[in-house]
């Protein structure tokens, strides 16, 4: 661009270019329901958007602040409870309260409870913080079963979202309107959280995560920095909870309990906590696994657990990390040199996976089958679990695949090294 071009035009192009990914995301979010118009797929999309906000808020703690929380669902669930109570009160048009503003109540609740619990739990990060968050999580989860007037006990609290003040004529009877409400909040929250990570407070949160002592020497109280992140995470988790209340019109103890807290950790970690987009990927993948895999197998949660443990052990940067690792090699045009080694490791690994899945499914079938039932349909084949044949085949696949994959692994490693050496040499030149 020439120096004579008007400055405003230049800033405008950089503005568009710098935010290209956001515009693209907005476009996708707007068009997605047009591609999949069935009721169930919109329900899945709603769930996905809510989980994206929840996971991103969780990553404000774990990825950006270095705080491992086992009780983040507290703010999600409490946000949900406060939102649903507000919906109940405003129902019938008692006062002006359009539905799209309702989740803010959840956000404020999350923020205030974040302040309350954060005030004594953010002194330290690491293991101690994790334990305190677990204790608070249990405290709130157990309380929600005891204080029945507020939480409705095990039945939960229900409300009707269609009875509030109409919002530009929209009464949210139609699913698509609810989707656009939730998706709009998701885009707004994601953008705000991204902006937060770029503010001085967000940068200091990274500094405190990496070396709290040095941050203190620079003059920042590690506690206050953590507390600010903690409150922010509580706020956005509360909004996610509020959207949950809007979407399902019911909030129960399940939103606030430890299982829910565990799920958000799983999502964020599988996606990759080191990247802003990681939790988004994690939430999308988890929701897809949850809805698709559960159609085929009852033990889908076990597979998710396996993926999680494998991520922790072998790919701590998560799915996003794996993708980002390939980026420099792709830019150098060397991705093709990896195809064959990948295939050589991937095929045995696939065999191993099939074997393991087969064994697990057969094992599960043993515990749930009716008396006298011995035929299990698996991989489009009818298998007799009382005969050793199926067991032996799966065991051989699992073991053989594992051994072969390990044998092939060094080839992949050396091909990888060569490709990345090439990529980085090119970059330096």
């Amino acid at each position: 661009m020439s120096a004579l071009a008007p400055a405003s035009a230049r800033t405008r192009t950089t503005f568009v270019r710098r935010n290209a990914i956001w515009w693209l995301a907005l476009l996708i979010v707007l068009l997605l329901p047009q591609l999949a118009r069935s009721g169930t797929s919109i329900a899945v999309l709603n769930q996905m958007c809510i989980m994206v906000i929840f996971s991103l808020s969780y990553n404000m703690l774990l990825g950006q602040g270095g705080m491992l929380s086992f009780g983040h669902a507290v703010y999600f669930g409490l946000g949900g409870y406060f939102t649903i109570h507000l919906m109940k009160m405003a129902s019938g048009g008692g006062f002006f309260m359009p539905l799209p503003l309702v989740p803010l109540a959840g956000g404020v609740a999350g923020l205030l409870f974040g302040l309350l619990f954060g005030s004594f739990s953010t002194n330290r990060a690491g293991t101690v913080f994790a334990m305190i968050s677990l204790g608070i999580g249990e405290l709130i989860a157990a309380s929600s079963l005891i204080f029945v007037k507020f939480s409705g006990g095990e039945e939960g609290i229900t409300a009707d979202r269609t009875n509030l003040t109409a919002f530009f004529g929209a009464t949210f009877r139609h699913e698509l309107q609810v989707y656009y409400l939730i998706a709009g909040w998701m885009m707004l929250c994601a953008w705000l959280m991204y902006r937060f990570s770029r503010t001085p407070v967000g940068r200091m949160a990274n500094a405190v995560r990496d070396n709290a002592e040095r941050a203190e020497f620079v003059g920042y109280s590690q506690k206050h920095v953590r507390l600010l992140s903690f409150m922010g995470a509580g706020f956005f988790a509360g909004i996610a909870g509020g959207l949950f209340a809007v979407n399902y019109e019911i909030v129960t103890e399940e939103t606030v309990n430890l299982v829910s807290s565990g799920v958000v950790l799983l999502q964020a970690y599988i996606g990759g906590v080191g990247f802003f987009a990681g939790p988004i990927v994690g939430a999308v993948v988890y929701t897809l696994l949850q809805t698709l895999l559960s159609n085929y197998t009852e033990i889908w949660a076990f597979y998710v657990g396996l993926i999680f443990v494998a991520t922790v052990m072998y790919a701590p940067a998560g799915l996003t990390g794996i993708i980002m690792m390939h980026l420099p090699i792709y830019r150098a045009g060397k991705l093709r040199s990896l195809a064959l080694p990948y295939l050589r490791v991937g095929l045995p690994a696939l065999c191993c996976a099939i074997g393991v899945i087969g064994l697990l499914e057969l094992l599960h079938f043993l515990s749930v089958r009716a008396v006298g039932q011995s035929i299990k349909r698996l991989f489009w084949v009818r298998l007799d679990v009382d005969q050793p044949l199926a067991w032996l085949v799966f065991a051989a696949l699992a073991l053989g695949g594992f051994v072969a994959a390990r044998r092939m692994a060094p080839q992949l490693v050396s091909a990888w090294d060569a490709a990345s050496r090439h990529a980085f040499a090119r970059r330096e030149r």
């Binding site: 270095g66 491992l68 086992f70 109570h85 004594f120 739990s121 002194n123 330290r124 690491g126 293991t127 101690v128 994790a130 334990m131 305190i132 677990l134 204790g135 608070i136 999580g137 249990e138 405290l139 157990a142 309380s143 005891i146 204080f147 029945v148 007037k149 507020f150 430890l258 565990g262 950790l265 799983l266 970690y269 033990i299 949660a301 076990f302 657990g305 396996l306 999680f308 443990v309 922790v312 052990m313 701590p316 697990l360 094992l363 599960h364 515990s367 749930v368």
Partner: protein, 316 residues
């Protein structure tokens, strides 16, 4: 009242010592490796389920020995092939790893034994009331649990303070490098302690299964309580874990028996409120109803007023 006190004391002691069996292993592992083993309570559950399967095949008594050993082996394998691998990524990754293992154990228990309670019972020889006081039975099985827990407590004390292995373990807690210099295999000690701690958790599961029920949620019921115990007692302090176990055991059993609420207290001093609002639950619930959250309230209070825990030295 006396009847209530005596029985609550006895039950509290049984429960408290059971908690100590879990928290002793957990706190030892924590002070050695700095790892909070999230899967500890899951290993406790695994112990109960394994003992159930063994008791179906060859009876309760072999299960009492074999199941904890199996759980110990599982624990040692987790340490050797999982935790040691993850160690390079730091403590937070280790904690996340044990969380994943806990998740996996819980799911695999449901995968193998189903989602329902299993009918794991005490042996017929112990299924009688030991004595009768004021018309209430005290089951012999509870006395048996008490005896096992006290036996384990004494054994642990003797091993840690009087034996050579115990001395090496104690030294490896504070000065692992020095101990390695002296020619001891410190990683092996770690694996051993992890395995032994897991075996203790498994044993706790074996003896608690028939009394507290054997079901997929049993790890979640006790897991968080055990964490509370080791924080309240003071991180890394074995004596603190003992005191806190008994304290929380008593707290929970006594709370069940106290059927008063704040409202009753207000009435006693002459304040009555006829109002019923969304917050009225706060003063109408009885102490018995809030029993389950008392340990967590205690945790929060301890963290605010005495961050080192009862007997700990490390600041939380």
């Amino acid at each position: 009242m006396l009847e209530l006190t005596v029985f609550s004391l006895l039950n509290g002691l049984v429960y408290g010592l059971l908690l100590f069996m879990l928290s002793s292993g957990l706190t030892l592992i924590f002070s050695m490796m700095g790892v909070l083993n999230f899967a500890h309570a899951s290993l406790y559950m695994l112990g109960a389920y394994l003992a159930y399967s063994i008791s179906l095949k060859i009876g309760f008594w072999p299960g009492l020995v074999i199941a904890p050993l199996l759980v110990g082996v599982v624990g040692a394998l987790i340490e050797r092939y999982g935790l040691r691998h993850v160690h390079r990524y730091g403590h937070v990754a280790e904690l996340i790893f044990t969380f994943g293992v806990a998740f996996l154990i819980e799911e695999s228990v449901q995968l193998i034994w189903g989602r329902q309670n299993v009918d794991y019972r005490e042996p017929a020889i112990l299924a009688f009331p030991l004595f009768k006081l004021w018309g209430t039975d005290f089951p012999a099985y509870k006395a048996f649990m008490l005896a096992i827990s006290i036996g384990i407590f004494i054994a642990l004390l003797v091993v840690l303070t009087r034996s050579r292995v115990g001395l090496i373990i104690q030294a490896a807690i504070t000065h692992p490098n020095q101990v390695a210099m002296l020619g001891h295999n410190v990683p092996l000690v770690f694996t051993g302690v992890f395995g032994a701690g897991s075996a203790l958790a498994g044993l706790a599961g074996v003896i608690a299964g028939p009394s507290l029920g054997t079901f997929p949620g049993m790890a979640a019921v006790l897991g968080s309580i055990v964490f509370v115990v080791i924080v309240v007692g003071g991180l890394g302090s074995l004596a603190g874990a003992f005191v806190a176990s008994l304290l929380i055991g008593m707290l929970q059993t006594f709370a069940v028996a106290v059927d008063y609420s704040l409202e009753d207290l207000f009435k006693a001093i002459g304040i009555t409120t006829g109002q019923r609002s969304a917050l009225s639950d706060l003063y109408t619930v009885t102490v018995a109803q809030i029993g389950p959250i008392l340990p967590y309230l205690l945790l929060v209070l301890i963290l605010i007023f005495r961050p080192t825990g009862l007997l700990g030295k490390r600041e939380v």
